[in-house]
């Protein structure tokens, strides 16, 4: 093992793989600890999207009468909230992950990539639980799943990739600039309204659709509606724009992360 710093490091996936046991235990710890010492415990996993859905249904569904492509508004919103909350949660958690585990970073060596990775994976578990609520909701509204639901795993993977790509940038930036922590809530809010969560993308004028695709979450959320409900607003070329954006962000994020990695222990 020799260690001078390389200017352009490789991704280091092999090393991450060698440390997979650590990754496993970190994910396991995050899940175990998250709702410790709360009265409601795991119920929070369900309550968060359910409350959001109730609020959106009242404000946007009832009061503002936002059209929902003929789908009952609560279902319409909840289906979109699932991927959105997975994304928002993963981004927020991973952005703060490095700073939050600075005691580890300063005292032990392991590929730092494991830290944001583990928070994102831990987010998947919450998603799984709240997905069960969706099934209940569909049952309640007598909506049956269509074969297109088979695309769902791919979509979930895409959400995770998107969250990781943003999370890598933010977590590495956060090490040096704690501003990230304060920017994050605004970012999440603005991003949500730029994503067809409470409204349908069919409201977006056609000429803006391609630009809209630059927001990878827009395609994913509509994709979710399509996969679960069999219909959605508008989908098309924008999906590929989204994939491209995420791929670019992810590779850029990895490179940036790996470059900053060597200084984490000194700066954090």
């Amino acid at each position: 093992m020799v260690r001078p710093s390389r200017r352009w490091p490789r991704f280091g996936f092999k090393e991450v793989w060698e440390y997979r046991d650590l990754l496993y235990f970190l994910v396991w710890r995050d899940i175990k600890v998250r709702y410790k010492q709360t009265a409601l415990g795991v119920a929070w996993v369900i309550l968060q999207p359910v409350f959001a859905t109730v609020v959106f249904s009242v404000v946007f569904g009832r009061l503002a009468k936002v059209p929902s492509d003929g789908i009952p508004y609560p279902v319409f919103a909840y289906v979109a909230l699932l991927p959105w909350q997975l994304f928002a949660f993963c981004v927020a958690e991973s952005a703060n992950s490095l700073v939050g585990s600075q005691n580890l970073i300063k005292k032990v060596y392991f590929p730092r990539l494991i830290i944001p990775l583990s928070t994102v994976l831990a987010g998947l578990v919450d998603f799984g639980v709240s997905f069960l609520v969706l099934l209940a909701l569909l049952f309640r509204y007598h909506i049956s799943l269509t074969p297109s639901v088979a695309v769902l795993p791919a979509l979930v993977l895409f959400v995770v990739a998107a969250a990781l790509s943003v999370g890598l940038w933010l977590s590495a930036l956060n090490v040096e600039y704690r501003d990230v922590r304060y920017t994050l809530p605004f970012l999440a809010q603005i991003w949500m309204y730029a994503t067809p969560v409470v409204y349908s993308s069919s409201l977006v004028p056609a000429k803006w659709r391609a630009l809209y695709g630059l927001n990878p979450m827009a395609g994913v959320v509509e994709g979710f509606r399509w996969a679960v409900l069999g219909r959605s607003g508008a989908l098309g070329a924008q999906v590929w724009v989204s994939v491209g954006v995420v791929a670019l962000l992810l590779i850029g994020g990895l490179v940036y992360f790996r470059r900053m990695e060597s200084t984490f222990a000194d700066v954090v």
Partner: protein, 442 residues
């Protein structure tokens, strides 16, 4: 099988210290700089008023497989930085280090412990953090639990543990790491004496197992007993590398050459290491040497040491005693003087300000620096105690007057040698000032 386990070549680590003006940045400033810096792909904004500080510079050494190396040096010497580089926690700014074998690092006890998790869960988590495989942890689980002595609390969250239990559990996990190269930093500073001994013993086992150990500690006695080689760092540079005894000696020489308050009067009021149960009654110590000269700087082996101790008796008392403990730099007690040991001292009842004199006609402790602990007992109850109340520095001397300087051991004692068939001659000349003095070594 003595191949090189660690080789370092010109290792250096630079930190950038920012200056005062920077501390009060405006938010806008921060944002624009952050943005600029991010855009320039992570390179820090070069315009900041900053200064380079080398925590380590030009460090080259080799460590053979199976060596147990103590890394010593004062605060800020760069010991921890070196360990962090060798464990890959941080990268060197220049130079390189080559390490052969799996490295286990123990820079802190209980890294990554989560307070909400139980002891059992933390063993798994911490083991993984330290680099153990899941299967490895599980196979050693029972051993770890037995070593930690916390079986009964295995399913209690560690936040309810006492600090002793916490440390024991944490060390137990670390101790069962089986790396080829073990890097340990000052972890023995925690825990009680019994536990420290156990840890030292475990570390000793590790090194006897033929593994390479790098050990940073301020406990020189531990370093000397565990290590066979020593590296001395001073302000980021390697100043000595060699057998551990010589390294420790080198370190002490370099420490004792630093100037200190050269006065024979030690005011006890500001002493930080004090335990007063009956008020701060001990006031001052004055040191004198041969022919009542104030003792400033150092004395030589065998000189007179006279201590004048000023103290206060709040209520009339006749049974009061003062003790003086002389500790060497390893914090080992070499000699204890106590007014209890002198029958001839007066036992009249006294009150108010007193001066008690302790006269040691021949202070025969070996060359070195001795820190003095002083305590006052009234009616056999300790009322005031101060650690590091004063110190004396003893220089080498030709104590026996033969031109052969005594260098080893803790004390010098007058003694005689004679061949039995010449016993007659020996009786005739009982050497100069024989061991007739009242100095006793306890």
């Amino acid at each position: 099988m003595s191949y090189i386990a660690v080789r370092s070549q010109g290792l250096g680590k630079k930190f950038r210290i920012s200056h005062e003006s920077e501390r009060y940045r405006t938010v806008r400033d921060t944002l624009s700089r952050g943005l600029a810096s991010a855009l320039r792909f992570g390179r820090r904004a070069e315009r900041r008023p900053a200064e380079d500080f080398w925590a380590l510079r030009d460090l080259s050494f080799e460590i053979k497989h199976g060596d147990v190396v103590g890394i010593i040096g004062g605060n800020g010497a760069g010991k921890s930085t070196l360990l962090k580089i060798l464990t890959r926690i941080t990268e060197p700014s220049e130079g390189l280090a080559e390490i052969r074998g799996r490295v286990g690092a123990l820079l802190e006890v209980g890294t990554g412990f989560h307070p909400e998790l139980t002891g059992r869960e933390n063993i798994l988590l911490n083991g993984a953090i330290l680099g153990m495989r899941r299967s490895e942890i599980i196979s050693k689980f029972d051993e770890i639990v037995a070593f930690s002595e916390v079986e009964r609390f295995l399913d209690t969250p560690v936040k309810h543990y006492s600090s002793g239990m916490y440390v024991r559990l944490a060390f137990a996990i670390a101790a069962h790491l089986e790396p080829e190269i073990l890097i340990v930093d000052e972890v023995l500073a925690v825990g009680d004496v019994a536990f420290q001994k156990k840890c030292l013993g475990k570390l000793g086992d590790v090194s006897r197992g033929g593994r390479t150990v790098l050990f940073v500690s301020h406990n020189m006695a531990a370093v000397e007993s565990l290590c066979n080689r020593g590296i001395v760092l001073d302000h980021g540079r390697l100043v000595f590398s060699g057998p551990v005894k010589e390294a420790v000696g080198y370190y002490y020489d370099s420490v004792s050459s630093t100037p200190e308050a050269e006065s024979h009067v030690f005011d006890l009021a500001p002493c930080p290491h004090r335990r007063s149960k009956g008020g701060k009654l001990l006031k001052r110590i004055e040191l004198f040497t041969e022919s009542d000269r104030p003792l400033t700087g150092e004395m030589i082996i065998g000189d007179r040491l006279r201590l004048r101790i000023h103290f206060e008796l709040p209520v009339p008392a006749s049974s009061f005693n003062i003790g003086l403990g002389f500790n060497n730099v390893y914090t080992q007690r070499i000699f204890t003087a106590n007014s209890l040991f002198d029958r001839s001292r007066s036992d009249s009842e006294r009150v108010g300000h007193q001066v008690f004199v302790c006269d040691i006609p021949e202070f025969t402790l070996m060359a070195g620096t001795y820190s003095i602990r002083i305590w006052l007992d009234i009616n056999h109850m300790e009322v005031d105690l101060i650690d590091d109340a004063a110190s004396v520095r003893v220089m080498e001397s030709d104590y026996y007057g033969t031109g052969n300087m005594p260098r080893q051991g803790a004390v010098v004692l007058r003694h005689q040698w004679y061949l039995e068939d010449e016993a007659f001659a020996a009786k005739k000349t009982p050497a100069t000032a024989c061991a007739s003095s009242s100095t006793r070594v306890i």
